[in-house]
Amino acid sequence: MPFDPVAYAIPVFVALILGELLWTRFAGDAHAYEWRDTGTSLAIGLGSTVAGAITGGLTAALLVWVHGFAPLSIGWAWWAWPLCFVLDDLAYYVFHRSAHRVRWFWASHVNHHSSQHYNLSTALRQSWTGFVALSFIFRLPLALIGFEPGMILACAGLNLVYQFWIHTETVKRLPRWFEAVMNTPSHHRVHHAVNARYLDRNYAGTFIVWDRLFGTFAPEDGEDRIRYGIVSQLGTFNLFYAVFHEWIGIARDVWKAPWRHKLSYLWREPGWSHDGSRETSDMIRRRWLESRGEQ
């Protein structure tokens, strides 16, 4: 079993969540946490560790297999670690952007977003169905370049650990240089927002530079209050509904759609419909801009 930083981080996660709970409570913010929401988030997190234990071996095996085709093996040289981490973070950006733009991938990623709260417990809403949603394919190129599968998985784990602490409203802004390079609570609040101006922005894992580079960056703006969650809020704390609702939605849409549109319900962006009866995030943003008298 490769080194898994997430397992070691769990006790720290627990301590920090308890710390944030107490902090927000004594700062007078009674709405930061909702006990049932927290329960759902943590149960999703716990379930994802089980799903990870089941499919983790398959992902590792695939990485090893692909690594066999690499023209050169980079090995465990010390300089390979930072390089692997940065490239893995780029792979994460591509994965995450696809996860928001392709409904098949979104069906798995959506449960990270379906809480209407934004606190450290939200960070643990990790997918159960990532393997089915083919999330692993985004990391295969690193093995193909020649990075050690164990190193790739460790970097992926470290990246996930980094992303934990940015799920908070208690940290407002950090020093300018840090906000310029790193993903921060401020940048990631934007990512979890449903406000039209923020939809499909800030896909970064650890380094925000990818969003700045590829045109998907939006700074947090004081103009309107951030509302968290998904465009069609779940309205339930039911664990299994939260985990599977989008898969159920896909099945229903594919079943009902005319033949020539069936596949589009799998690969088009969330909110796409063949008869224009729903809205994608681009449509929502356009409508919002029009309502403000801009184009």
Binding site: V14, R227, G235
Partner: protein, 130 residues
């Protein structure tokens, strides 16, 4: 794999502990709208958009009902300490009793809005078809 089982049991215990602490610390407040502006903002975030021309707040701020220019009705329903948008299906009968309004015989959607309750009745069914 006893280590994996141990990790699962430990994590499960931590989940129960955190949820208990959240409950004890009072993270079970119900949702509250401070004013019409806040309700308007939430209505606007609805999927497909909903631009209210008329809003009525629950007297305790626990819910809201609104009408748009096309005569569609929608509600903000509390969910934990947040709100969820619900479009009231067209032709839903809106019953008025005193200060409160109940859409479609669903007592859990009853909202107490005071004097203006009367204005939301649509018993003369043509009302909503503009």
């Amino acid at each position: 794999m006893p280590a994996a089982v141990l990790q699962f049991v430990g994590s499960l215990a931590a989940v129960v502990a955190i949820v208990t602490v959240a409950w004890l610390l009072g993270s079970r407040k119900s949702a509250n709208l401070s004013d019409e502006e806040e309700a308007r903002e939430l209505f606007r975030l609805a999927p497909g958009g909903f631009e209210p021309v008329e809003i009525a707040l629950d007297t305790e701020g626990a819910a809201a009902i609104a009408r748009d220019a096309d005569g569609r009705l929608a509600m903000l329903v509390p969910h934990g300490n947040q709100f969820v948008f619900r479009l009231v299906p067209p032709d839903t009968p809106i019953r008025v009793e005193g200060d409160s309004v109940t859409p479609g015989n669903r007592p859990f959607l009853r909202i107490t809005i005071g004097e203006s309750a009367r204005d939301w009745a649509n018993t003369d069914s043509g009302d909503n078809n503009g």
